[in-house]
């Protein structure tokens, strides 16, 4: 029965457990509960992945109303893989979340924070698995609302978390409203909300309305994906959120937006046929390149490790957009490889940063002095992540960059090749700042205390994956290739 | 007749709106809010009758109650505001 209903359980499990967790009084029990729930969810997601691995598309009609009358859950390989990413990220973060919260958030408040965390997970997974465009909006809001609150919880350490959360709230709500406007236009010309159905009926719809509708959806997603002119909420949000939450967001939030972009490009943004659909693919490489360069350059100048990583994330999102914009099966595959690899790399770095924050209470660059001596393991993982960001071979970052460069090479898109190469260099510069800051002599010698044990497993796993996927990239490439082929080849 | 009454109510509504926008004191605005609230209730009731959907009265009913809550909230704010300062 579980196998049959895994599609819906993967969302409903965290969704319904959240109220229960919120009612718990003991922070430790709540923390353990979150870990168990996230792990169960990861198991469900894995089950889904197994079911879809052979190309099957699971269609689950909620309430047994056949789509497009009712809401449909539609899980193809991409959705299953994303669900896996989200739930695994949540599991890893849940491992150290209680520890990282200690000292900044009163134990009495923690169960509610854990509940919000579960809601955030449920919302994100919900976005990924659904096949109904309005349902996307609903779950987008669940995840967004909980995210705002989670970010604001960083106020225990730094009051700027509040303004960061507020900025994100205003932008996020505006973006969601744009998304809703887009849905309105698509709905008015097609009469349906089911994404697959929408794709089919789009072909005969009036052109202008589709263009405008798609554009607004695009802008809405762009806001959530921190695309260039709309990126300003992101560094603050990542830098001031509680460290564990920042890790989770870095691994998932913008990734889901990219997922949405890919999902929409499946039927909204693509351009086959004479009737005008809108080709946003041409927009993506310039935006992506600009993000790539600007994100990297700003990262060099920031004075806080988490902000630096956030700007680096903007650059990496740019890389994904570039890959997506290059198009074709290879482009989507490259974007996906980037997406997964970057989630792993950045997750590892943010988790390590969380560990540093836990020990040192700050992540300012000048406060990292002596890290290489006091926390050699943490420092090692930071450097490893940094190397992966640069794209040094044997790390996952290399594979993902290589795929993009290869694609651009083949299309003779020298601008992209040059841009990626150039940003690799800039990346060296900011990774270098981390290394140098960590190796600088400390003002006073701190007692040597490395990673808290709670961090060891997630950080170690992500680090191992960073290297593992850099050497044995085959599984990831195959998976991405299959997903891309399914997206382009088969019906959405 | 319904149409005439609806138009009359709407004009009332519009005039109250002018007062609400023009002010000058807060109390004028609250007063207009109140008037607008009542007029909306009546408008909805009349509209329901005009289109033969008598269920609309339910909305009017709820409206009447909520209107009161809104007014009381504003008053509490004003009174609290004054007494503190």
């Amino acid at each position: 029965m579980i196998a049959q209903h895994a599609a819906v359980l993967v969302v409903v499990l965290p969704l319904l457990c959240a109220p229960l967790v919120a009612l718990l009084r003991d922070a430790r029990i709540a923390g353990a509960a979150v870990l168990i729930i996230a792990a169960l969810d990861a198991a469900l997601a894995t089950l889904l992945l197994c079911q879809t691995l052979d190309g099957t598309v699971i269609s689950y009609a909620l309430g047994n109303w056949a789509p497009p009358i009712g809401i449909e859950y539609r899980i193809d390989l991409l959705a299953a893989a994303m669900a896996c990413l989200l739930s695994y990220a949540a599991t890893l973060v849940a491992l150290f979340l209680p520890v990282s919260l200690r000292g900044t958030i009163a134990p009495g408040d923690q169960p509610r924070l854990f509940a919000a965390f579960l809601l955030c997970l449920a919302g994100l997974v919900g976005i990924v698995v659904t096949g109904d465009i309005f349902n996307v909006f609903v779950f987008l809001e669940i995840s967004s609302l909980s995210t705002y609150v989670l970010i604001a919880m960083g106020a225990g350490a730094d009051r700027r978390a509040l303004t960061a959360a507020f900025d994100y709230l205003v932008l996020g709500a505006t973006g969601a409203t744009f998304f809703v406007i887009g849905i309105a236009f698509l709905y008015v010309v097609t009469g349906t909300l089911n994404m697959a159905d929408l794709g089919e009926r789009m072909a005969t719809a009036p052109k202008r309305a589709v263009i405008v509708g798609s554009s607004f959806i695009f802008v809405g997603i762009a806001l959530k994906a921190a695309m260039l002119p709309l990126h300003r909420w992101m560094p603050n949000a990542y830098a001031y959120a509680p460290a564990g939450i920042g890790t989770f967001l870095a691994m998932t939030a913008t990734k889901v937006s990219i997922y949405l972009l890919i999902r929409m490009s499946d039927f909204v943004f693509d351009t086959p046929g004479e009737i005008g659909r809108v080709n946003f693919a041409a927009l993506l490489p310039p935006i992506g390149l600009a993000m790539l360069v600007a994100g990297s350059v700003i990262a060099v100048t920031t004075k806080d490790l988490r902000r630096l990583l956030a700007y680096s994330s903007i650059a990496n999102l740019g890389l994904m957009l570039v890959a997506l914009g290059l198009g074709g099966i290879a482009g989507i595959a490259a974007a996906l490889v980037n997406l997964f690899n970057h989630a792993i790399i950045k997750g590892g770095m943010f988790a390590t940063t969380a560990a540093v924050l836990h020990r040192r209470g700050t992540t300012r660059m000048d406060a990292l002095a002596g890290l290489s001596r006091d926390m050699p393991v943490a420092f090692g993982f930071l450097v490893l992540g940094g190397l992966a960001l640069i794209g040094v071979p044997l790390t996952a970052g290399f594979v993902s960059k290589l795929l993009v460069v290869k694609l651009a090479f083949e299309q003779a898109n020298w601008l992209v090749v040059g841009g990626v190469m150039l940003t690799s260099l800039i990346t060296v510069a900011y990774v270098w700042r981390i290394v140098e800051a960590g190796m600088a002599a400390p003002a006073k010698t701190a007692p040597r205390h490395d990673l808290h044990p709670a961090f060891l497993l997630p950080v170690g796993l992500l680090g191992a994956a960073t290297i593992g996927l850099g050497i044995w990239s085959e599984p990831m490439l195959t998976l991405a290739g299959r997903i891309a082929a399914q997206m382009i080849g088969g019906a959405p | 007749m319904y149409a005439a009454v609806a138009i009359a109510l709407f004009m009332t509504f519009a005039l109250a709106l002018i007062r609400a926008i023009a002010g000058p004191s807060v109390f004028d605005r609250v007063l207009s809010l109140n008037v607008i609230g009542t007029k909306t209730i009546l408008l909805i009731a009349v509209l329901g009758f005009a289109t033969d959907r008598y269920d609309f009265i339910d909305i009017a009913l709820v409206y009447a109650v909520l209107n009161l809550i809104g007014t009381v909230a504003v008053l509490r704010y004003l009174v609290g505001d004054k007494e503190r300062s």
Binding site: - | F27, L42, A45
Partner: protein
């Protein structure tokens, strides 16, 4: 034409007249709300006509309503309005007076500064 029909016609006419009066009252009150010089006179105009207009229209509609339930609901609405509108008007005037807003008693005097703005 049976008696029933005549009664029904009378009912309709009565209802129409009632709501017509109500609408007119409301409109007059609104003019007062806009044109009168200071808050207290405006409150007077609005307060009185608000209730009067509501009575006219709601009773008129109740007369016109096709079934009892609708009529009862309308009467409930009326009761709510009858209580709520004067009460809030009263509370409002009281709050205004306590806050220092004074009626302008002589037309030749310039209106006082308006606190609360």
């Amino acid at each position: 034409m049976t008696l029933l029909d005549i009664l029904d016609l009378a009912r309709l006419v009565l209802g129409d007249i009632l709501i017509g009066i109500g609408g007119l009252t409301a409109l007059i009150g609104a003019f007062g709300l806009v044109r009168l010089p200071d808050f207290y006179t405006r409150a007077h105009a609005a307060g009185v006509t608000d209730t009067a207009g509501a009575i006219g229209i709601l009773v008129g509609l109740a007369v016109l309503s096709p079934d009892l339930l609708t009529a009862v609901k309308l009467i409930v609405v009326l009761i709510v309005a009858l209580f709520a509108s004067p009460a809030s008007c009263h509370a409002l005037a009281r709050a205004a007076f306590r806050s220092g807003l004074r009626p302008s008693l002589h037309e030749d005097r310039p209106p006082p500064a308006v606190p609360g703005e």
